[in-house]
């Protein structure tokens, strides 16, 4: 039986090619954490935790501390296959979702290597590749059109999640109209306000975009404005997607039962594989659609995302958000994930196929 001997957390920083802006913040550097599970049989599992203070209250420092102070002691000595047991141990600490998720995913990487199977097969093995959605950061209409055109021409991507949520919302409406006009009708566009709009802005913006073929709207406004949120969901002709407002299975259930969203964004960087699979079960049982979201993942986390997305039928019904890493100037892998004709394939190597470039880790780590 393989046993975990230690979990390491290596903070690193890689700049973005240019700032990525959205309604609740802007990132200029990927100040993420590489989580590494070591075992007594020499198998090493990896995952990446992206801190999102404005979403979960975690920082690079808190993630490193959570791994060393809580999660490494809790998991050391454990059989990595005992995921349900390990999840129960991690769950004793409240919050810290991306730290927990990275531990879970790195353990899955160990499991896959231990049995010689790619993890997408172990999780369900649904698809050989998945369509990719690119997230477009906030900018002027022409900047956003230029970026979308470049991404389409470079990667063949034809699905875009457009960041909105600005005040006045007319700025967003103008940008979305410009995108539809420039990209044509065959491109899929959906919106993410990152809780930025207020009051009826979301409904008014959607009305102004009624002929723009918007597929979905994520996090229209403040989730704590409960009645506004319900009214938006009730009246919107496009499905409202819950993301930051439902970060755990129980929150997903509450939000859905409250009629405060129509669909759910599943992010492996937030709920790992073990809990994400349960959320798939929850949503499938309730007949609720899901979208594989992106926590502005680096390349390592992207390999986890595509693994999970390809494994399940539910996560392949819509394009998956897997391309955020292309906005980051570099990565820790020997080979970055590839996007060809707008699609990404899950790694076929045992585990998650995460081949770390040690020189790059040495170069980008910030703890030495």
């Amino acid at each position: 039986v393989v046993k975990v001997t230690a979990i390491e957390a290596i903070p690193f920083e890689i700049p973005f090619r240019r700032p990525f802006a959205f309604a609740s913040g802007t990132v200029t550097v990927a100040d993420h954490v590489l989580v590494r599970v070591r075992t007594d049989e020499g198998i090493v599992g990896h995952a990446e935790a992206p801190p999102r203070p404005y979403t979960y209250g975690e920082s690079q420092t808190s993630i490193v501390a959570a791994v060393y102070d809580w999660f490494s002691p809790a998991v050391t000595g454990a059989d990595p296959f005992g995921r349900e047991r390990i999840s129960a141990r991690l769950a004793r600490i409240v919050g810290n979702p991306t730290a927990k998720a990275a531990v879970d995913i790195a353990l899955w990487d160990v499991i896959g290597q231990a049995v010689g199977q790619p993890v997408h097969s172990l999780l369900g093995g649904f698809a050989e590749s998945v369509r990719v959605t690119h997230m477009l950061g906030l900018g002027s209409p022409s900047e956003m059109v230029d970026e979308a055109s470049r991404i389409r021409d470079t990667y063949g991507i034809s699905s875009f999640k457009v960041k909105v949520g600005r005040t006045p919302f007319a700025v967003d409406v103008e940008a979305v109209r410009a995108l539809r006009s420039a990209l044509g009708d065959d491109v899929e566009l959906y919106l993410d306000a990152n809780r930025g709009w207020r009051g009826d802005d979301a409904l008014r913006a959607l009305a102004a975009l009624a002929d723009a073929g918007i597929a979905m709207l994520e996090e229209p406004g403040r989730a704590d404005d409960i009645l506004t949120r319900r009214r938006t969901v009730e009246r919107s002709l496009v499905p409202i997607v819950g993301d930051e407002s439902c970060t755990r299975a129980a929150e997903v259930a509450r939000l859905l039962l409250d009629r405060s969203c129509d669909m759910i964004s599943i992010k492996t960087s937030r709920t790992g594989f073990t809990d994400s699979a349960k959320i798939v079960g929850l949503c499938e049982g309730l007949g609720v659609g899901v979208v594989l979201g992106n926590q502005i993942d680096g390349a390592v986390a992207t390999l986890a995302g595509v693994t999970f997305a390809a494994a399940h039928r539910a996560t392949t019904e819509r394009p998956a958000e897997l391309s955020a890493f292309v906005d980051i100037a570099d990565h820790l892998l020997i080979e970055p994930p590839e996007i060809v004709d707008g699609r990404m394939a899950p790694p076929q190597q045992p585990g998650l196929g995460i081949a770390i470039d040690d020189d790059k880790v040495d170069h980008y780590r910030v703890d030495r």
Copy 2:
């Protein structure tokens, strides 16, 4: 990559030691089907499908036909790891739950053997053993007390699901009182009316048993009497468990949202491992308790049940119904499952640990 080359369905009949009676029927013979998945690498996976016509409309004949006519062609050539893909193919045929479940479980048996791991580890690896509940068939109070005492003395079992649902319900009340009196307060008792009671019988029976320490009541009466069911759930002081009235994830969701049950019975012989895991996710997300139920499983199906039960935290929170096979006079295994001190451990061999005794298959099969 392992590929499925054929699926076989072998009908067999093994008599019960004595008839097992419950409100919706009586079984005197285990007329089940052994499902066998063959692969190009020589790995063979097994599972057992128990037809329950009064619950699902399946027969031994229909299961054999479903496997040969639909499911073997649909799965032959497939990679057994592609469970989500295979599930989607099987789902194109409506109904036939135990036939589908057996195919899914036999594929998991292949997967476990292919990677050299017990399936309980692959599914979640929560517990080393689980507490066992025995189901007590209908009988006179003294017959039921004798049987419970014998099971307790033989296997150390201290949790019993007592079949009720007779008219007048006073017969059941008398039997349950006799059991509590004979077995003492430390034994867990819960009830299963198998949809047998009518109107307010369930509430009246529970009132009459208010001091008998009943843990749960399963399927109190006709599930299609929607308002009666809701009223029973609303007023009952013990949780009402949904079983035959919610045989798929979507039905579980509907019944729970309708407030027509408080807990869910998960049966691997009904929803396999793949869908049962999703139902675990659904129930965990909704904060709903589960019990690992028993489709009057033979020994082969019992190995599947204990594998799933031990894998998940949710299914170990209550004793699992795993001992029905002891009422059947023989089995198809080289060694039957063991119950020691009221507990059963999942097989530790790769796959499901199903070592078939070919002589017994030859002896009990009814298709030659």
